[in-house]
């Protein structure tokens, strides 16, 4: 139990921020028209590619060969998520743009 309380105290600012972010996320997209569901899902998909930062950190401090391989894989996969996500979303939205 003590471990959790300590974690809570050390991260109380962060936890506060997380709770606000949850409400923000709900607020930001709650009025989205159905036609944008697909691009929005795809855009959100790209944003959680932010996990690549964790992959870079873990790779940046990898020492053993095994860790290097896994870290390398994590960075590749994270990049796929980011690049693929944003490019696909842009491709979808590009089509909306043409209509005037």
């Amino acid at each position: 139990m003590e471990g959790f309380l300590e974690f809570f105290m050390a991260n109380k600012g962060t936890i506060f921020m997380v709770i606000l972010s949850i409400f923000l996320g709900i607020e930001v997209i709650s009025h989205v028209p159905a036609i944008l569901h697909t691009p929005l899902m795809s855009g959100a998909n790209a944003i959680h590619g932010v996990v690549i930062i964790g992959a870079i950190i873990v790779m940046g401090h990898a020492e053993t060969t095994g860790a290097m391989i896994l870290g390398f894989l994590a960075v590749v996969l994270g990049t796929l998520n980011v690049v693929g996500g944003f490019v696909v979303t842009d491709r979808m939205l590009e089509m909306f743009k043409k209509k005037k």
């Binding site: 972010s21 959680h48 992959a55 796929l80 944003f86």
Partner: protein, 478 residues
């Protein structure tokens, strides 16, 4: 341990960049939810991401150590960018849903890998003080479980949408899944209550946990019906967001936290909105309650009446108002361009042509709008089903092309039907109905459609693209 002692110019630049990146994510998401600003929103979020990545590589410090292996990291990024870019650019628009699912799975896998690599390195000092039961370990294990479920589930969803994995509809499935869920929770508790000096000793248990999570991800998505797949992808999307946020806790990294949590909560809301558009409850989607009804329709099948291409051409040319209901069948046949050609021809003849776009036509909500926009169909011609329904009794001909479930009257008539209650395009209200289909196959929800047996309905069998081409030729010749 406190923030001030770690202060250096680089670290503060890093933190400021993270704040900027978070702001860009939020603005990007906000702009993505409005048609006019959507594209800029996406680019804004992408800029935020690039900033966060560059700043991490340049300025991140862990216990004073800067990021090493930079050559390898850049190589990995280059490889990922090249593959991601090519796939994203090459894939057909019809395959968009499975592509989103695929990229989502990649993010989940990255989150799971991070957890697997960080687990053996939990500080021994922390374990000595609090045992394994601390927030740090919990964040790692949750990141592992959620990331893995998201990865495995997304891959199954990808396979299903691509058509090489079928549904597995067994009633017992939900009990199996609930059991596995309980096992996972039990395992996490078990790991966190072990009495060890170093977390590395528990690595075999973590690998077992990983395997169970893979099984859960697979079995969770397997029984879910094809028509519900978009909801599942959206749900898994928010899972990956949460998994990324766990990494944020782990590294006390604000960009990962805001990005992850934002997607987690926005994704959950989006999932609920999608369920609402289909009149399904999220719980039913997850437990996989679909089908079982529709017997009334099957026994009542009457005769179907066909129409020739030339008759259809005449009918269309001498109408005042025509409404086209495009479905996934149209998109698969890559017929959206030729369809637009037909509507331009009819327009020249003074026929008013509109498209009725059902919110869930295609494979994802909004998918059909993307596909029609690809064919340059003007925005004003695309009308949402709710708006066009009151107009349908005054419509001379409604042409249903490769759509099925979204025009199925069972949604209004048959309380035992699995799609009962779903808003539909009320095609049967129109004066004449032409249904273009490849054959008498059922829709994605695999249920009978009484519209095809309606007195006003004429069937035009054949591949959407060649039939439309023939129709265009006939209309030109008139």
């Amino acid at each position: 341990m406190n923030d001030v002692s770690q202060f250096s110019a680089g670290i503060s630049v890093l933190e400021i960049t993270y704040i900027l990146a978070s702001v860009l994510f939020i603005m990007g998401l906000k702009m993505l939810s409005h048609p006019l600003t959507a594209r800029r929103g996406n680019i804004l979020a992408a800029i935020g991401m690039i900033m966060a990545i560059l700043a991490t590589i340049l300025f991140h410090r862990k216990d004073g150590m800067q990021i090493g292996n930079i050559g390898w990291i850049i190589l990995a990024i280059v490889i990922g960018t090249a593959i991601g870019w090519v796939i994203a650019k090459r894939v057909k628009m019809t395959a968009m849903p499975q592509l989103v699912s695929f990229f989502n799975g990649m993010g989940g896998a990255a989150a799971a890998l991070i957890s697997i690599m960080e687990f053996p390195h939990v500080s021994q000092e922390l374990i000595a003080r609090t045992g394994m039961a601390n927030g740090h370990v919990l964040a790692i294990l949750l990141g592992l479980v959620i990331g893995t479920v998201s990865w495995a589930g997304s891959m199954i969803a990808f396979g299903k949408l691509d058509g090489w994995i079928g549904d597995l509809r067994v009633r017992a499935m939900k009990y199996v899944n609930l059991t596995i869920m309980a096992v996972i929770i039990g395992f996490v508790v078990y790991i966190m209550t072990r009495d060890v000096q170093a977390s590395a000793e528990l690595m075999p248990l973590v690998i077992i946990l990983f395997v169970i999570a893979v099984a859960y991800g697979v079995l969770f998505v397997m029984p879910i019906g094809g028509a519900d797949m978009p909801v599942v992808i959206s749900l898994l999307n928010s899972f990956t967001g949460v998994a990324a946020a766990m990494g944020g806790f782990l590294y006390n990294n604000q960009a990962m936290l805001t990005g992850g949590i934002l997607v987690g909560s926005a994704g959950t809301i989006l999932t609920i909105l999608m369920c609402r558009a289909m009149n399904r409850s999220l719980l039913n989607v997850i437990i996989g309650v679909f089908g079982g009804g529709g017997q009334a329709a099957e026994s009542a099948g009457g005769a179907i009446k066909e129409i020739t291409v030339s008759d259809a051409a005449v009918l269309l040319s001498y109408s005042k108002k025509v409404v086209v209901v495009p479905g996934y069948g149209l998109a698969v046949a890559q017929a959206q361009h030729i369809c637009h050609e037909l509507d331009k021809l009819l327009d020249e003849k003074g026929v008013e042509v509109k498209y009725a776009i059902h919110p869930v036509a295609g494979r994802m909500p909004g998918h059909m709008n993307v596909l029609m926009a690809e064919a340059d169909v003007p925005y004003e011609q695309l009308v949402e089903s709710d708006e066009i329904n009151p107009d349908l009794p005054n419509t001379d001909v409604i042409v249903v092309i490769g759509a099925n479930d979204v025009v199925n009257p069972a949604a209004e008539d048959d309380p035992s039907s699995p799609i009962y209650g779903m808003p539909i395009v009320k095609a049967r209200d129109a004066r004449n109905i032409i249904v273009m289909k490849r054959g008498m196959g059922k829709g994605y929800a695999a249920i009978e459609n009484m519209l095809f047996f309606n007195d006003k309905t004429r069937m035009l069998f054949g591949d959407a693209k060649s039939t439309l081409q023939a129709l265009v030729n006939e209309v030109k010749a008139l």
